[in-house]
Amino acid sequence: MEATGFGVLSLLLAVPLVGILVLLFLPEDFHPVIRTVAMVFSLIAFGVSLVVYAAFQPETYHFQLVERMDWIPALGIQYQLGIDGLSLWLVLLTTFMTVIASWASFSIKEKVRGYYICLFLLQMALLGVFMSLDLILIYVFFELSLVPIYFLIAVWGGANKTYAANKFLIYTFAASIFMLVGMVMLSQLHLEAIGTRSFDLLAIQGAVANGTLWAGAMQLQPLIFWAFMLAFMVKTPMFPFHTWLPDAYSNAPAPAMIMIAALPVKMGSYGILRLLLPLFPDTLQRYIPLLLGLAIVAIIYGAVVAAVQPDLKKLIGYSSVAHMGFVTLGIFSLTHTGMMGGSYQQLNHGISTGLLFLMVLFVAQRLKTTDFSHLGGLKKRMPLFSVIFLIAMLSGVGMPGTNGFVGEFLALMGAFESTRTNQFGLNIWFSVVAGTGVFLAAVYQLYMFQQTFYGKPKTVMISRLKDLKTGEVVLASTLILFIFWGGLYPSTFLKPLEQSVGATRMMSLNPAGQRPSWNDLTLELDEDGNLVRVAPRVRNGDLAAFEVTEMVFEDRKHYPFPPEADAPPEFASAQPGGES
């Protein structure tokens, strides 16, 4: 496809980069100026992302605002950006959490300039992952994110910082280098199938969609699938590759944790949605019981282990394992409901964990510790603080009215639908066991709340504490706003996800030739979620209105297959009008 110029997405990517360059030329000891500049750039980035949101058309699953330029033409590697519903919210979450984290990071007192450079580098890497449409570009940003996190932990971290930072980097690098080999193999397959060398996600997915890519290389699919899956399993993190996370969480500097906890793990779940489901449909279906099982283990295991943690940060770390378990549970249920829930839960986890870590920061600033043996009885001294903490916690538990409820409910609902119909060799016990995770979440969250706020103060420091300042309350209430907004009126957030989730699901379920293709602009999903052929349109044009010419594949939105069928049915037998 032809090259386009730079656009608004490149601008968004450039804002943190310019921020880094500006910071580099500021004097090291001029802390107020550094903080102001950092704040300004994070706000600019947020502003630009709002422009992206305004330009976004939720009626299509195709990538929008696509920018394309050659990077390494010899290998078919491009600089290609674009967004769809799945990435839109993660982009917004990234820029929003950067604002919060930059503000909260005013408490960092040493090496401030380097700290903010790391923060912006992380923001840029995350935005890059969420917006890139070229495999190598995704990998570049995926790995680039390791560098700032490594330094944030190793330089500004807590007691065990070196160990935690090394473990984090080695774990994630070890997993993702094989993804790089897998990516090169994919481009090799593209070369064999289509005749051109390309790392273009759109082109490769297009070849998967019409069945040409895997036609002669089906035996390679599981190999490359696991090469990708390993990277995402470590990142998400899924059991049993989660062990880096509690160490990293408990040793990273608290203000940076607002970002590190909320965002980098999303690269894993986003990678599953963006790459794994569309590119390896056949293998994915074969391993669904295993993957769903691992998601459930993560939910239960994360919750149980969280309940015995002696430290606030570690507890939230393990609770993240459990929450991300709900995300993967929803995604791997491969039902529309479940996938909507999983992708929505990504966003919720970012907000509620971000808020929890903001609370941790307030505790750590006042008491210099987050160990339960030094907490207790905070409620009396800090009533306002305990209310905010309670809200964050209830969102994590999945209390109706908070965003966590919607996400977890949809994910469980999806898992239920999928297991009830015995698809992919699943049975109902999968969802029953997963359901207990909600109850277990209440156990450890309440334990955490009780240890922190009730009982007698365990140190004298606590009796001298003052409640939150106005600035801190304002900071926290921006996040609380989204917790309730997402819980009471979730369609704001669910609507843009709809088409992309539907398309991703069809990419992984439909037979070759009837899959949606990112490359083919004449395919579209109608409002019932059916795949239809439409009159030709242009990329980056108006994609919202389309003229349907032909039905390609009719979808049952809520069940993967007709619920009455026991054996996995033939796709071809799906009759028009069979909406359930």
Binding site: L75, I136, V147, Y150, I170, L180, V181, V184, Q188
Partner: protein, 513 residues
């Protein structure tokens, strides 16, 4: 019989002549001004290198030329490699002076000797004749032996020079022995004659040629520090003065791989013999280098083992090219050589800063608190380490991506996976070095380091900019490489009669691909 004067093509040899004469000039200048500072010598050397570069750059993309009676063979590969060699020497000179003063090494002969070593390396990549390869190798090696021992008061330095010399002499003997076999079989010293002989007389010459080529490979594997001929590397890297280590790690590696490339191209019909051997060597080299690096305490020694591992990566790139020269270009090898020299020079430049008051500072703890003392140095070190690991967006990542791509395109997935596994192992020790510079350990005394002077500042900034620049602007760089080496798609000798059975098995299997 009439004797014809061989055709002389001055342009191709001019850069080498400039470098040699700059060395002579630098030596004379040093003698004329004893007991003075070396600034004049450095200046002259740098100007000479710039001049050589100015004559090299226009040669990119010009056609291959054989002159001086087939002694000099200039093609795209030799031009590119010479440019990298001259650039590496230039960077070394930029940061050497501060280090030599700090270490109190009154050895201004460093500059002329290093220039001559460079000229030897340039000759090695500028020829297709075994004789010239040997002369170039010896010119380079003897200068390097002297340089390793130039810190006369240090036992380590003396030891490293001795070790390097003795083992190097052994390797040269192997090389010469192999050349004798080849000459005996073919009656010619030219590598193109070797490949002709192999194509047409495989049956009667096969065994003796195998012996000859095998011994030659031993010689160059030694210089490229490939396992099992690597044992000298960590000792010499550790013992030699740091600027010499930097110089050597770049120059010797480029020259050795240039020579290895020529020899393998000449011995292409024997591919069935050397290819599986070198695949083994590549895997073992990567693994041994990385595993041994894990347990080192001394930064220079660690980087010595890392140099071994990186040689393995380079060999993967080279082997992928030879496996399928039509589909896999030489770009990956050249690009990785370029990137490797830059990052290794950058890393050693930072290490050389830690030396204070005549004492070498090469333990990990000497780097403690480097970030507070000299942020630029610490950042440069971090970029070099990240690039050596292969983490984007550094050039080392793009280089590794090229190698992965080549290995898979050539149908060598085993090498690609071995490379991936080794990249993971390498994270441990590279991170250790990076951590030492950034994470201040209060329990240890703060190390000391020299302030960055202009030359050092230039080298450090250059390595940072290059690590990003080579990655972002990889398209123009590889375009230059393609212009220089794009016509190299086959190493088979044209066979006059159309008889498929006459082609060597390797060539046959190749055309089947």
């Amino acid at each position: 019989m009439t004797y014809t004067i061989p055709e002389v093509h001055w342009e191709s040899i001019l850069p080498v002549i400039i470098v040699i004469s700059t060395g002579v000039l630098a030596l004379i200048l040093e003698m004329l001004r004893p007991k003075q500072n070396n600034n004049g010598v450095v200046l002259v050397s740098l100007v000479g290198l710039i001049a050589a570069m100015a004559f090299l750059v226009p040669q990119i993309g010009s056609e291959s030329i054989e002159s001086f009676g087939a002694m000099v063979f200039r093609d795209g590969v030799s031009v590119i490699l010479q440019i990298i060699l001259v650039g590496a020497c230039f960077l070394t000179f930029c940061f050497s002076e501060g280090y030599l003063r700090e270490k109190r090494i009154p050895f201004a002969e460093f500059y002329p000797l290093a220039l001559w070593a460079t000229s030897g390396a340039m000759l090695m990549v500028l020829t297709n004749s075994l004789m010239m390869l040997f002369i170039g190798l010896e010119v380079m090696s003897i200068a390097l032996y002297c340089l390793s021992g130039m810190a006369k008061n240090e036992l380590r330095s003396e030891e490293s020079a001795m070790k390097y010399f003795l083992l190097g002499a052994f390797a040269s003997a192997f090389l010469l022995f192999g050349m004798a076999f080849v000459y005996g079989a073919t009656g010619s010293l030219s590598l193109s004659a070797v490949s002709e002989t192999l194509t047409f007389h495989m049956d009667d010459m096969g065994v003796i040629m195998m012996l000859g080529v095998g011994l030659i490979l031993v010689g160059f594997c030694f210089k490229a520090s490939l396992v099992p001929f690597h044992q000298w590397t960590p000792d010499v890297y550790q013992g030699a003065p740091t600027n010499v280590t930097a110089f050597m790690s770049a120059i010797a590696k480029i020259a050795a791989f240039g020579a290895l490339y020529r020899v393998l191209a000449g011995a292409f019909p024997l591919m069935d013999f050397w290819f599986p051997l070198l695949v083994m060597v590549a895997i073992v080299t990567m693994t041994v280098g990385n595993l041994a690096a894990l347990v080192q305490q001394d930064v220079k020694r660690t980087l010595g083992y890392s140099a071994i591992a990186q040689a393995g990566y380079l060999l993967v790139a080279l082997l992928s090219h030879f496996r399928n020269p039509e589909a896999v270009s030489l770009n990956a090898t050249l690009y990785y050589l370029l990137v490797y020299s830059t990052m290794t020079l950058g890393a050693f430049a930072v290490i050389s800063m830690v030396a204070r008051q005549g004492r070498e500072g090469t333990r990990l703890r000497d780097l403690n608190g480097l970030w507070s003392r000299s942020p630029l140095a610490a950042v440069a070190l971090a970029f070099c380490m990240l690039s050596l690991i292969g983490i984007p967006p550094t050039a080392g990542f793009v280089g590794k991506l090229f190698i992965f791509n080549d290995a898979l395109a050539a149908g060598l997935p085993l090498l690609a996976i071995a490379l991936a596994v080794n990249s993971v192992i390498s994270v441990f020790y590279y991170l250790g070095i990076m951590k030492a510079a950034f994470v201040t350990d209060e329990n240890l005394p703060q190390g000391e380091s020299a302030p960055a002077h202009v030359g050092m500042g230039f080298v450090l900034s250059f390595s940072v900019v290059a690590m990003i620049g080579f990655a972002v602007f990889v398209a123009p760089v590889s375009q230059v490489f393609s212009r220089a080496t794009g016509d190299i798609t086959s190493y088979e000798v044209e066979i006059p009669e159309p008889d498929p059975d006459a082609a060597s098995p390797a060539a046959a299997s190749l055309s089947a691909n």
